[in-house]
């Protein structure tokens, strides 16, 4: 089993992110159970609990599974590339100043099958409730995965099967005070890191006015030694796809 499958000290929970060798194995993610079972030369992958998935994998000896957190926009079906974080308490920022804060973001759990440099997503599941919302107008806005979160200056305690820590740098480039109630980020540039204590990502926000800001994910782990997640969009991403998002319908 994985090198990160240890007991999480903070939540006393066994975590199964990391590499899983292809042999008969039983994994539990709370009420979700994954069973790997060799069946007539094929590997049978089955997941039970909440919903049921069964797949057969024809594999070579150097094939393995990787289970890690992925972008939270794939369930119940891929509809969008955006997440909207609504702050429970608005953040007020002084003119021409920068603040560094922490908040949280939802995660989904991806099961990849890997052979050499080739990887393919086998299954995605989640322990968090999915909810979507609209940012902007019905005519030209964007549908986003919705997540409500607190903002704090200290590292928040998180349930690493459900949520990750978002390290956030907000720069107010305007000459006025601005109040931030929510942020919209494009997951196209999202890089997720994990270890046995936290799942994390980082982002920056450049505020130009109360109605306009630019957001983007940055590639920075929470601390040294964290593993980089294999993400769904990361596999398919074209370098020409824009990774920044301009929030033009207010903050």
């Amino acid at each position: 089993m994985s090198n990160t499958s240890e007991k999480s000290e903070s939540l006393n929970k066994k975590v199964f992110y990391g590499r899983v060798n292809l042999e008969s194995t039983y994994l539990e993610f709370e009420d979700i159970k994954i069973v790997l079972h060799e069946y007539g030369g094929l590997l049978k992958y089955s997941r039970e609990g909440r919903s049921r998935v069964e797949k057969y994998v024809a594999y070579s000896p150097d094939t393995y599974l990787l289970i890690n957190p992925v972008e939270p926009v794939n369930l119940p079906k891929p509809l969008t590339n955006f997440i909207l974080l609504e702050f429970t308490e608005p953040v007020v920022i002084a003119p021409s100043s920068t603040v560094k804060t922490y908040s949280t973001f939802p995660i989904e759990i991806g099961v990849f099958i890997i052979n050499g440099k080739n990887s393919e997503i086998l299954d995605i599941f989640s322990l968090t409730k999915q909810k979507y919302t609209l940012y902007g107008t019905p005519r030209s806005g964007v549908v986003c995965r919705y997540w409500q979160t607190r903002v704090s200056t200290e590292l928040p305690e998180t349930d690493l099967l459900r949520e990750g820590v978002l390290k956030l740098q907000i720069s107010n480039n305007s000459e006025y005070w601005v109040t931030i109630n929510n942020l919209v980020l494009s997951v196209n540039g999202m890089t997720i890191y994990y270890d046995d204590k936290h799942v994390s990502t980082s982002a920056q926000v450049l505020v130009f006015s109360q109605a306009l800001a630019e957001t983007s994910f940055t590639d920075e782990p929470l601390r040294e030694g964290m593993s980089k997640s294999l993400t769904i969009r990361g596999q398919k991403r074209l370098p020409i796809i824009k990774e920044r998002f301009v929030m033009e319908w207010g903050l």
Binding site: K77, L79, Q130, P138, R237
Partner: protein, 276 residues
């Protein structure tokens, strides 16, 4: 002089015509190979309708460029063609009036883009999904799977309702509850069901309120926004779930009923038809 150098007309020989035909065949095959390779490489990276349009542009651009470049082989002087174009254009215009009308409409549709491939639309009496927007016609697959070809001039001049042009759309239910039930509790139950559905959008906020006091029921209006491409699924999911949860909470959805008062007392007769 060999057969291949036989002059067909002007300076154009059989060799020229064969070279032109081979060149165009190779170009068409090459254009197809290029677009197929691009499709394979980009199919999971670009939206399907955008990809189809890009591939179509690339395909026709390759063919048109090679065609224009190789017309001297056929002895066609494009500048001469332009001069003769005035009169020829008028003749062709009359002869191909409908074709030209469809072509021009197709160009305007490509500029205005009221419909795109994959959109759910209603056009006159046809309702379905746009499968293709060609130069002369628009192909629609109706929801019951029929192929409908609509000439572009008809598309251009018709009223088009595009169900998926906007990011989100709203749907509505009216649910009647019994006069004996608590409408406030019913509204709470309905709001909770909507909140639990992932694709019933958080914002714009759903609206649930008592709309009117009907003959047999207190009528509650429910308005929910959903992503345009999923609104019908959400609509189907929610209605039954709302009915189930209301019943679970002891709230009944009454049948139409009418209380009838008689001026005189009714005399009931028990007719026993069994004769023993």
């Amino acid at each position: 002089m060999s057969l291949i150098d036989t002059v067909i007309y002007g300076d154009v020989t059989l060799r020229n015509i064969l070279v032109f035909l081979i060149l165009m065949t190779v170009t068409v095959v090459l254009a197809k190979l290029i677009t197929m390779a691009l499709k394979r490489a980009l199919i999971d990276k670009i939206k399907r309708n955008l990809l189809d349009m890009i591939l179509k542009i690339i395909y026709y651009t390759i063919i048109i460029v090679v065609f224009i470049g190789s017309t001297p082989l056929l002895g066609i002087n494009l500048s001469g063609l332009l001069l003769a174009g005035g009169i020829t254009g008028i003749i062709i215009g009359f002869a191909l009036q409908n074709v030209v009308a469809n072509l021009v409409s197709g160009i305007f549709l490509a500029i205005e883009r009221p419909v795109r491939i994959g959109d759910g639309i209603s056009l006159g009496s046809v309702t379905g999904v746009v499968e293709d927007v060609n130069i002369f016609s628009t192909i629609i697959r109706t929801y019951d799977g029929l192929f409908v070809r609509v000439p572009n001039s008809a598309v251009f001049t018709s009223n088009i309702t595009n169900y998926t042009a906007h990011v989100a759309r709203r749907f509505e239910y009216v649910i009647g509850i019994s006069y004996g039930n608590d409408a406030k509790k019913a509204i709470e139950v309905i709001k909770k069901v909507i909140e639990e559905h992932p694709l019933a959008l958080k914002r714009p906020e759903p609206q649930v309120f008592v709309d009117n006091l009907g003959e047999s029921s207190v009528n509650i209006i429910i308005r929910v926004w959903a992503p345009s491409q999923e609104w019908y699924t959400v609509k189907m999911d929610l209605l039954w779930e709302i009915k189930r949860k209301l019943e679970e909470n002891g709230i009944s959805i009454p049948f139409p009923q009418r209380v009838v008062w008689f001026a005189n007392n009714l005399r009931l007769e028990n007719k026993n038809t069994d004769k023993t």
